[in-house]
């Protein structure tokens, strides 16, 4: 097992003590170490929010972009150089709210990115407003009478969009989460890992004890995750018991493998050929 300390940096962590993000950060390090992806070989792309600060807190290449827009940045980077290993860190507001259209497109595009959504069901950075995954009735300062909408179900959404790899992790199950991340990185297409994350400052409902009572790990022997209809059913389980693990996985071909200009190597690796361009232009 490789050493996770190689990912440690001395940049001051800015999360609240007890934040669920620490568990996710540790799981990322464990996964990268286990897969022997050294800091200079990983690119982390993130949006805006507490989750999106993640790459600052470990040794890696990173692009910490705009709210909601991590997936397009990551997609552009992957199209430019599909030899890169890219992890995307977003929050629930970031990914399912502001970046919703990009998620829909990423699911359809099936480009080989691993998306980790730190889903704490509340806006942390802006201090406690409702997020797309806040439950109906969830009370906040901005929604004092309770959230008047239904919570979105990102897993069911992804499945309905034809996603090839859909998983749920929990920030309190670090080893399990690190395995999910590794499975996501190994998957040749787009992988969505929704991570149940505790927010100790603004969400007093979905706490460690809330999850402790409900979360159970899907048994790989019993639940093979290869049946879409079963997966949709699994994605609907919430009130009493909450499953974590790979909800659905199917064989796939990555988007970049299908594109004509990428057949002779990544766009980055290919060389500038003025003679050929001259000919193409003169024939055009």
């Amino acid at each position: 097992m490789s050493d996770t300390t190689q990912y440690n940096n001395d940049y001051e962590n800015k999360w609240c003590p007890g934040c669920g993000n620490f568990g996710i950060l540790n799981a990322i390090k464990k996964s990268l170490a286990g897969m022997q992806i050294s800091p200079e070989k990983i690119l982390i792309v993130s949006g805006i929010g507490q989750a999106a600060k993640t790459p600052h807190f470990l040794q890696c290449n990173f692009f910490h972009g705009l709210h909601g827009r991590a997936l397009p940045v990551a997609t552009g980077a992957k199209l430019a150089d599909h030899d890169l290993t890219i992890l995307v860190n977003m929050g629930d507001g970031d990914c399912y709210g502001e970046g919703g259209n990009h998620l829909l497109a990423a699911l359809r595009r099936n480009i080989n990115l691993t998306l980790l959504v730190h889903n704490n069901m509340v806006y942390g950075l802006t201090k406690g407003q409702a997020s797309p995954t806040s439950r109906h009735g969830f009370v906040t300062k901005a929604q004092p009478q309770g959230v008047p909408y239904q919570a979105s179900n990102p897993l069911a959404l992804a499945l309905s969009q034809g996603a090839g790899f859909v998983a749920r992790g929990y920030c309190g199950e670090i080893e399990h989460l690190s395995q999910l991340i590794s499975a996501g990185i190994s998957y040749p297409g787009f992988s969505l890992i929704d991570v149940l994350q505790v927010c100790v400052s603004f969400n007093h409902e979905n706490t460690y004890s809330f999850y402790k009572d409900r979360v159970y790990t899907l048994d790989k022997e019993e639940y093979t995750a290869d049946d879409l209809h079963q997966a949709i059913e699994k994605s609907m389980e919430w009130e009493e018991k909450i499953p974590i693990g790979i909800i659905y996985q199917k064989d796939t071909v990555s988007y970049t493998d299908e594109l004509a200009p990428l057949q002779s190597g990544s766009l980055f690796r290919q060389t500038y050929d003025p003679e050929k361009i001259r000919k193409v232009i003169s024939d055009a």
């Binding site: 800091p39 200079e40 990173f62 692009f63 972009g65 552009g76 890169l84 766009l267 980055f268």
Partner: protein, 582 residues
């Protein structure tokens, strides 16, 4: 000019007006003539009124003409709509039903066809006889070319290249073309000319969109992400044609926000990346523009202008975005803004924009418009492909210690050595937040000031790269000052005015930002007055010149109706302005 003929082909959208225009343009191009063909259409796929106007000459054509010498009317409405623009000796070819043709009294003809300069002709019936109404275009093109004086062989040759692999279709089109050609045998056209018999093509026949796409190829652009929007889409469609031959990928994004963020990601990862849109899409890209600004990521954005605000006039032309693109996004960061005035310039600008964008690690914006993009032009200079591409990137080998690499190291020039992620041991960290030299978020006063000053420091070097405005009889008493696509119309207007002994010259900007202040002052130092000529309602360039140099324009000639300038319009309005002074 010995030859100067303007032909307008008009009808409903979907009648194939562009096909007629393309055929005529290609026959003329092949013969060694110059031309400019503008496309005027409504935002609809069928119906309405569209036209293509082709101006043909033995000299380079710089702008459309205000008078029509030959009108090919594929419907009666076209006659009425263009009546006022007809030259005195102008001829109208009107498509009519078969029955009406036989009637010499013209009584059964539509009202439009009874005018003396109208030549009713059964284009569509001839097409049907040759095998299908779809060939109405070919019949019309045949008639038009015959009237111009072209030999049938020149026409036939272009038909052969158009329908090369479809023998039956080619045969039918030749028959159709021949019937149109023969139908006007006994008709005189005042502006017919001796067809150049030994002509060879003078340059490349292409649209501005195509010139921009070719420029992107020559600039080694590898990723082009876009969301469809008129009049920018054509650039990407042309670029997509090369995906199976060159390492260039055209990606249709889910929206413009995604498109700009994709090219930022691609550029960060190490390839040259482009997007193209119009004002509305650019508005959506503005936050991304700021992201490129603060992360110092080189990108190129083409904004092909159309009149706005919001949806505005989707298929028409304008120059209303100048001040917008200079100031777009919150707070401040350096950027380049270019406004090419011809397809040759557009091509060259792409190469230059990518180079300078990477050299200074800033976004570059290219302003074109519907007129440049959608018109067919003949290039007046050779198209050159750079022999190599300088990328301005650094690697581990260039560093004393890759573990100490700082992506945003403070330097006197403001330019930090740019490494690429996952390409060596150096970690490349970038953030939309204000940051320290290593690329980590920082809110300290020192880091904030260092970064603002570092970014700002680039402006000096960037300004040095900017070309001053190009003078045309620049020593004159009065100067017409414009930018971008009005270049040609201004120069032709100057010619018209000087032919009448009016002491007028032109000055046209292609490099807008950072503003070439010193060069502008020099260029304006000798004139008594300058008049701005722009396609917006407040003379945005005039305001910018005043802000940057303290020099004020005498007055402005502004047109914002969505149609391109004609030299005549500029010349007439200039005369009125100058007469008022006397």
């Amino acid at each position: 000019m010995r030859i100067d003929v303007t032909i307008t082909i008009g009808g409903e959208a979907g009648q194939g007006i562009q096909t007629v225009g393309d055929i005529i343009a290609r026959v003329c191009h092949k013969a060694g003539l110059y031309l400019l063909a503008i496309n005027d259409f409504e935002s609809r796929i069928r119906g309405g009124h569209s036209f293509m106007q082709i101006r043909i000459s033995d000299q380079p054509v710089l702008a459309p003409h205000h008078k029509i010498d030959m009108l090919i009317a594929l419907n009666a409405e076209t006659c009425a709509l263009h009546k006022k623009e007809m030259a005195e000796t102008g001829l109208v070819l009107l498509d009519i039903e078969k029955d009406a043709e036989k009637d010499d009294s013209k009584e059964n003809l539509p009202e439009e066809a009874r005018e003396k300069n109208v030549f009713p002709i059964t284009f569509s019936q001839m097409a049907k006889d040759a095998g299908g109404k779809i060939m109405t275009n070919t019949v019309a093109a045949g008639a038009c070319l015959a009237l111009l004086g072209a030999p049938f062989s020149a026409f036939e040759q272009i038909l052969k290249t158009t329908f090369a692999e479809k023998e039956k279709i080619l045969e039918n089109n030749i028959t159709a073309g021949r019937s149109g050609f023969d139908a006007v045998k006994n008709t005189d056209f005042d502006k017919a000319f001796d067809w150049p018999s030994d002509g060879s093509a003078k340059g490349k026949l292409l649209s501005g969109s195509k010139a921009l796409a070719l420029g992107a190829l020559a600039a080694d652009c590898r990723l082009a992400a876009f969301y469809p929007m008129s009049p920018a889409t054509g650039i990407m469609i042309h670029l997509a044609e090369f995906m199976d031959q060159l390492p260039v990928l055209v990606e249709q994004a889910e929206d413009e926000i995604s498109a700009v963020n994709m090219i930022i990601g691609a550029s960060y990862a190490g390839v040259r990346a482009l997007t193209a849109t119009s004002g509305g899409g650019f508005s959506l890209m503005v936050e991304g523009l700021g992201l490129a600004g603060i992360t110092e990521t080189p990108i190129v954005i083409i904004n092909s202008q159309r009149p706005g605000p919001a949806t505005g006039l989707p298929t028409r032309t304008g120059q209303g975005d100048l001040l917008f693109v200079i100031n777009a996004s919150q707070d401040e960061f350096p950027r380049f803004v270019f406004a090419p005035g011809s397809p040759n310039q557009a091509y060259d600008t792409l190469i230059r924009a990518f180079t300078l964008s990477e050299k200074y690690q800033v976004p570059a914006i290219i302003l074109t418009d519907q007129y440049i993009n959608d018109s067919l032009w003949i290039t007046t200079r050779e198209i050159e492909v750079p022999t190599e591409i300088e990328r301005f990137v650094t690697t581990d080998e260039d560093m004393t210690s890759s573990s100490d690499y700082k992506r945003f190291a403070a330097t006197a020039s403001g330019i930090s050595p740019r490494a690429l992620p996952c390409k060596g041991r150096a970690l490349v960290c970038a953030t939309a937040n204000e940051h320290d030299e290593a690329g980590h978020m920082s809110e300290t006063i020192a880091d904030r000031n260092t970064m603002v000053e570092k970014r700002k420091a680039k402006t000096k070097g960037m300004t040095g790269e900017m070309k001053g405005p190009k003078g045309y009889h620049g020593e004159s008493e009065s100067l017409l000052v414009g930018w971008g696509s009005s270049d040609g119309a201004i120069r032709e207007a100057v010619d018209l005015l000087r032919a009448e002994n009016v002491d007028v010259g032109g000055l046209v900007f292609s490099d807008i930002w950072p503003f070439p202040g010193k060069k502008t002052k020099d260029a304006l130092s000798r004139c008594k007055r300058f008049i701005t000529v722009e396609q917006n309602a407040s003379s945005q360039l005039g305001l910018l010149i005043r802000q940057q140099t303290g020099l004020s324009f005498h007055t402005s000639l502004l047109q914002y109706d969505g149609r391109p300038f004609t030299p005549n319009w500029i010349a007439e309005h200039t005369k009125s302005v100058l007469e008022e002074i006397r």
